[in-house]
Structures are given as structure tokens and as C-alpha cells.
Symmetry: C2
């Protein structure tokens, strides 16, 4: 696999084998440089959206993009665009990902896609300058704001605002747990821009897989054909606060005991489904008042349900709501659950999948069609323009943690495929293709 | 019960039926006035140690004590003492409780004991001025710092430092979850004093019962004969952080699922013991990184074990450690547990129990001997001087919550008994009595 990654293919608009292409060494130097912003001791990064560390890596991105000849703008929700100066007034093929991370997150998730997009665009820019590439549109390298959603919910915020799925004004009023708004956080890092950003003609994104399928198959590139159906449940467990020392067990209405039973119910519900067809989790779990000698009065938790098929998520949801009602009755607490962040299965356009396969052949590497369990900025973008999403392998499939890893060779292969893909996109190969969209009900059955 | 509370008895040093005694109306006015500091919408208070609201009620206490003729000092850990000017150079009978609260706590817990002590002392001061009471020592009304321990562990902090069980310098370096030290919090409310405070000759405290035994028995005063054996376990559950969307169930090492099983084990362990002989709880529970789309890597939780008998706490601890090991193996996480805040059964001196019963007879009310499941400032004080602890009834037995309630009539009865008790203490009726202490091993069997 790694041998193939250094082979060169025949991109359709490439003049010859060595005339132009991404600068692999410069790309690797830049990518590894970004890992210094918010670096953690165990080799990860901690760059939650709107923090000082996040602001620093974004300033670096702006400086680097300007050095490479792009015009940098920031939109009303803090997305940063580095746009080429090729075709005055034309829309852009938007290419990128995000520079924010989870707390103690990995250094590849998101950041790889932004730095790869920048170097793909730089390679094209050199070709345009040399007269070997004749683009019909511009390229815009994007760093979306707050893909991770760890500090400000929901995740995939910046691209959802850009795509018109979230309102910009309302979204800027979202608060983090300390009460800081998105508006304030953006101002604190100098990224409260104006206006909607450049107009998009198409979208491309490369990302680490965050799964083991490429690694198992020993294939360097995944082409994403659809996303999983996902939703969250905002669950609130309300009991009664009392003294741990002075309240007899029979007199208690302990919200934490009931919430713990709910967490176990969320894990256990997967036994009703086929292995690997569904994942269920509780990641956020807040106890009130959270004092060592007080029986908790309330727990707020977020359940995350994801499956390849919509009806599996819906059935898991039904089973859990019934189980929560049983727990509430048994523990003498109240449990409420609210649907949140429901994201139906989205399919990427077939023409985009074919184009991505051609780009792999340009570079001379194998590819595999995959689904994505995780959400990505490509999903809202796919609602407004044809979008293409590529994956590179993740060691052991792990992500959102400090030991997330992808080899330099795999990173470079991905960069080369992305460059070939964007080359095809800026010359209009997806012109007239409709955006992707929600799978029809009939197809889901 | 409430009729009796307004009857007057014959305190031994009281000149006659109407010559002196606590001013019930002024006491009630002052007590209810304190509920305005940190008042919550649902009728409780929120005055965690060292917060602005806590500082305000303490400033009120200082002003009120000075108006009533006492000299106010603050010691090295922020305990406030209001000392009488009766006998130059003599030690003091210390009487009081604490003005801090749990988050969304009740308005009676602690505050009642401080305001009652102030008015008992004021009544004695009037009698001394009138020449009808001849004290051998002074009285010092105390507001102990941080009895609740909700913000800074451990609870019962100020009285433990005063009693020499905790080191003052080290304790002032304790941090809250935001990293603020006790030192900084004390300075922020102007309560970083110097020195050890006045010397104690004896200690008395009145507090709400936080249980239902007085209510069930319809008796207005409880006399505490001993505390329960208590301990905490600091438990850390360490798994691996990963992506909720992209990590298959079989690949997870979810710290929250394992910690939830631990919470349920803590509740279930009581089935091995007689009903009402043990209470077990988890009140503090912190999830890391606590993001909706991240499988948690770590949960830190505090287990609270309390029983009338030491060996029951120790057996519960053994059963839980074994259960935690099973959970760790099954969930592929690591679970460590550290003993913390172990407080053996403490007995109050028999002579003090008898004196409290006499004080009840002085006032003409019934009393009942009880144990305390909860910790109180009287417990460390009982290690250095003879201490006497009184309870008044709690409606429904609830506490550490906003609906904590004791009637005005019961509050006044308690005030009158406390006044009679302190009258006996300042005239030397416990002279020569040894402090209380740990129950001997042989007696515990």
C-alpha cells in the first residue's frame, strides 16, 4: 500500500509526469507544524473551537495561505476561506475540513483535510500560473468553524450555517458551559467576519477514516457513498437533592443511580441489532449539584444513536424511551427525552463517486466505497452542491483521542488523490450534477 | 410538641421566670433575615464556602454580634468568633455551627445553629450585666468555615483545623474545581485571619436533625450520643477516549459505562445489611472529556459509606472493591479506589448527655437520645473539649435541599434549651470532664 502512494498517475490536465503536483515535503512540514498548536503531552492536540490555541492555528493558516498566493476572508460564523485569484467573479470549488479538535483529541482529525486542501490548491495554482491548467472556476480552501461541537453544540456548526441549515445570528448566541457565546469566542480570536463567504460550485474533503475498514482491506483511499442515520436524545433525569449522610436509602430519589441505569440501557440496546450495524453512546453527563455529600437531584445526559439504517435508529430510540420510563418508575424520578440533531442518511452524488475513483486511477492507487458513521462538514455541503468525500486509513481505527495515527505515506497518497480530484472539479467535471441528498424512504426499507 | 415549646422552665442560674432569657422575636427576625443571603427561588439558599453570598452573611453576622456587645475575630482558616467580655483572659465555651451551605441547599442547616448560639449568648450577656449570672469563663459564638465541603474538600474543614486535626497552611492550599485556593477565597471575602482563635473550655451546637426520628417520636429535642462510622472512597475509572460515531461497540473501553455500573453496585451493596443500618451514595461524579460525541476516557467519583457500626462500613468497602475489580475486567477499564476522610464512631461524653437532659428539663420539654449519620463541627470539637450536640426536628427528615423545613416553634424550643445548656456550661458544670472520643474496638463488636 505504501509503495503505491509514491507512484504518480496521469491526471487529465497534468502536462507531464513531473511538471506539477503537490509539494509532498512542504505539505508534510506544514502538517506536522500544525500539531504544535495546542499540543498535548501524549502526542495529541487540544484546540476546542474559539480557544486561544484554536485561534493560533487559524492565524497560522491565514498567513500560510497568503504566502501561497490566496486571498483570505472570514465569514459571519468564523469560517475561513483562502480563495484563488484565477477567474474574477466566478464561484469556487470549496475544499477543506476543520482545525478545531475535541478536548485531548487527535492531530489528524480535520487538520489533515485543511492542510492537504491548501497544498492541493497550491499545486493547482502553480499549474494555472504555468498555463498547464485552465480552470473554469476558483478554488477556495476552507477551515470550517467548530466541526467538533465539544464546546458549543451542535457539531458541524460552521458548514451548516454556510449551507443555510442553521441561522447565523441565532448560532452566534450559542453558549458554552461557562456561558461564553460563539459571538464572544469568535471575537476573542479575531474571527467574527461578515457576509456569507464565497459562492460554492462543488465541495471536496479528505479526512481520516476513524474506522478500521481501509486498514483491514489494505486499501489507501476510501470513497464515501453515504452517511449513517444519526440522532441525539437530550435526556434529563430529575430526582430530589438530599444529604448522603442523613437520608435513609428508602427515602431517596437519587438522580445519579437512575441516570447510571440509563447509561447501561443505552449500551445494552445494541443487543437487539446485528453486530456493527449500530453504535450507541453517552458522551456528555452532568451531575447536579455534584457534591460528595449530596444525593444528586439532576443528571443531564446526551445519548448518541447511529446506524446504517434509519429504522434501526428509530427502533433503538423506541426501546430506550420505554426503558427510561421503567427506570423512572422504579427509581421514583422523572426522565424526559428530547430529540436533537437528527441527521438522516445522506447519499453523495453517484457522479462524484465515479470522479473520485477516476482521481484514484490518475494517481494509480486502489480505492474502496465506504459509509461514514461519523458526521463531517461534507454532509451539509452535499445539500447545496455536489460533494465528494475521501478517507485515508486510521491506525487501529481510533480517533477523538491522542493516539490517533495515520502514516506520512498514507497522508501523501491522500494529498495526491485530492489534488487529482480537485483538478477534475475546477475544470467542470461535475457541472450539471445535482447535490446529494436524503435517501428516499422507499430506498431505506 | 409545639405547645411545649413556648413553656418556660427553671434554668438553675435564672433569677426568676421573666428576668431574662433569649429574645424569641428578635431571634426569629434575625434567623429569617439570614435566608435572604444567597436566597434561591425555591426557598433555599446557595452559599458555598468563600463565595460572595457566603461573605455577605458572614459580614451580617459580624455586625450583628458587635451590636450585641461581642468582640469579633477571624482565625487563620476563616472561622469567625464573637467573644463575650466577661472574664478577662479566661477560655470560652464555644457555641455555634456554620453559615455556608450546599449548592441549592436548605436555609436551616448550620445557619440555625449560629443564629441560635448568638441569641443564647446575648441572653446570657444580659444576665451577666444584670448580675443574675456569674460565669467562670467567656462564651464565644462561632461560625465555622466550610462545614459543607461542597466547593473545597473535605467537609468540616474550619473546625477540624481549629481542633488540630488538619494543618492550617496545607488546608488553605486546597483548590476548588476552578483552581481557586481556600487562601484566595478567604481573601476575597475578607476572612483570612491570623492565629488560632480563642481557647475553648467546652463546646455546644444545635442543628436540625436531617432525619425523621424526632418527627416520628414527636419529641422536640434530640441529644446526640454518638456519630456513625463514615468513610469515602475516591474512585477513578480509566478507559480510552474515542469517537462515539466511528468506534464500533466491540472496540470501546467506555469509562462512563463502567462508572455507571460502579454507581449501581454502590446502591446495591446495602442489600447485604439490615435496613436503615447503613447508607451508601455517590454524590460527586466527573466525566472526561464530557463531550456529546466522545466516548468518555475517565470518570472520577466519590463513594460515601456510613453505618452505625464500623465493621459494616468495612464490609461494604470490601464487597465494593471486589465488585469494582469485576467491573474493570468486564469493561476493559482500570478502576482504582483510595480511602479518604475515614471518620470512626465518636461518642459524646456521658456527662454532657446528662447535662443536655437537664437543660431540657429546665425548659420543660422532652428529649430523645440519638445517633448522627451526618458529620458535624461538634465531632472534631469533641476530640479536644467535652462537646454537647442537640437536634431539633426536620420536616420529612429532608436536608441539603431547598425544601428543608423546621417550624418557628421548634426553632424557639431549641433556642431555649441551648440557652439553658450554655448557662450550665459557663458556670462550669462540665469542669473536669474529659473530651469524647473514639469508641473502643471492644465496644464496637
Amino acid at each position: 500500500m505504501t509503495e503505491q502512494s509514491t507512484s504518480s498517475g496521469s491526471a487529465p490536465h497534468r502536462a507531464d509526469g513531473d511538471a506539477w503536483g503537490p509539494d509532498r515535503e512542504m505539505f508534510l512540514r506544514d502538517f506536522h507544524h500544525t500539531t504544535r498548536f495546542g499540543a498535548t503531552e501524549a502526542g495529541g492536540i487540544d484546540r476546542q473551537a474559539g480557544t486561544a490555541e484554536h485561534g493560533q492555528v487559524r492565524d497560522w493558516f491565514e498567513d500560510r495561505a497568503e504566502e501561497l498566493g490566496f486571498t483570505v476572508t472570514t465569514d459571519e460564523i468564523g469560517n475561513i476561506f483562502a480563495v484563488s485569484r484565477w477567474v474574477e467573479g466566478a464561484p469556487s470549488v470549496v475544499v477543506g475540513s476543520h482545525l478545531d479538535s475535541q478536548p485531548l483529541g487527535g492531530r489528524f482529525d480535520g487538520t489533515y483535510g485543511v492542510v492537504a486542501a491548501l497544498h492541493a490548491a497550491a499545486a493547482l495554482d502553480a499549474a494555472v500560473a504555468a498555463g498547464t491548467l485552465m480552470p473554469q472556476v476558483n478554488v477556495a480552501v476552507v477551515d470550517w468553524f467548530n466541526e467538533e461541537g465539544a464546546r458549543f453544540p451542535p457539531s458541524i456548526m460552521g458548514s451548516s450555517v454556510y449551507a443555510g441549515l442553521l441561522d447565523a445570528d441565532q448560532t452566534r448566541q450559542t453558549r458554552d458551559p461557562q456561558g461564553v457565546t460563539v459571538e464572544e469566542a469568535l471575537q476573542s480570536i479575531g474571527r467574527r467576519g461578515d457576509g456569507p463567504g464565497p459562492q460554492a460550485a462543488a465541495y471536496a474533503e479528505i479526512h481520516i477514516e476513524q474506522g478500521r475498514r481501509l486498514e483491514r482491506a489494505e486499501v489507501p483511499i476510501g470513497i464515501v457513498e453515504r452517511s449513517w442515520h444519526t440522532q441525539k436524545l437530550l435526556v434529563s433525569v430529575v430526582g430530589e437533592q438530599s444529604h448522603t449522610g442523613a437520608t435513609l436509602m428508602a427515602d431517596r430519589r437519587d438522580a445519579l443511580v437512575a441516570a447510571s441505569r440509563a447509561v447501561i440501557a443505552v449500551e445494552d440496546v445494541v443487543r437487539h441489532f446485528e453486530p456493527e450495524s449500530i453504535v450507541t453512546s453517552v458522551g456528555k453527563f452532568d451531575v447536579e449539584p455534584n457534591s460528595p455529600i449530596v444525593v444528586p437531584r439532576q443528571v443531564d445526559l446526551v445519548v448518541d444513536l447511529r446506524a446504517d439504517r434509519r429504522q434501526d435508529v428509530e427502533r433503538a430510540r423506541e426501546l430506550l424511551l420505554k426503558e427510561f420510563a421503567d427506570i423512572a418508575a422504579r427509581s421514583r424520578v422523572e426522565i424526559s427525552a428530547e430529540d436533537f440533531d437528527v441527521r438522516p442518511v445522506q447519499t453523495f452524488p453517484e457522479a462524484g463517486l465515479d470522479l473520485a475513483a477516476k482521481a484514484c486511477r490518475d494517481v494509480g492507487v486502489e480505492s474502496l466505497r465506504l459509509t461514514t458513521l461519523a458526521g463531517h462538514d461534507s454532509i451539509p455541503m452535499n445539500r447545496i452542491v455536489p460533494a465528494v468525500m475521501l478517507f485515508v486509513p486510521s491506525a487501529d481505527g481510533v480517533s477523538h483521542c491522542e493516539r490517533e495515527f495515520t502514516s506520512d505515506a498514507d497522508l501523501v497518497t491522500g494529498l495526491e488523490v485530492l489534488t487529482a480530484l480537485v483538478t477534475r472539479l475546477v475544470t467542470g467535471e461535475l457541472d450539471g450534477v445535482a447535490p446529494g441528498g436524503r435517501l428516499q424512504e422507499a430506498e431505506e426499507a
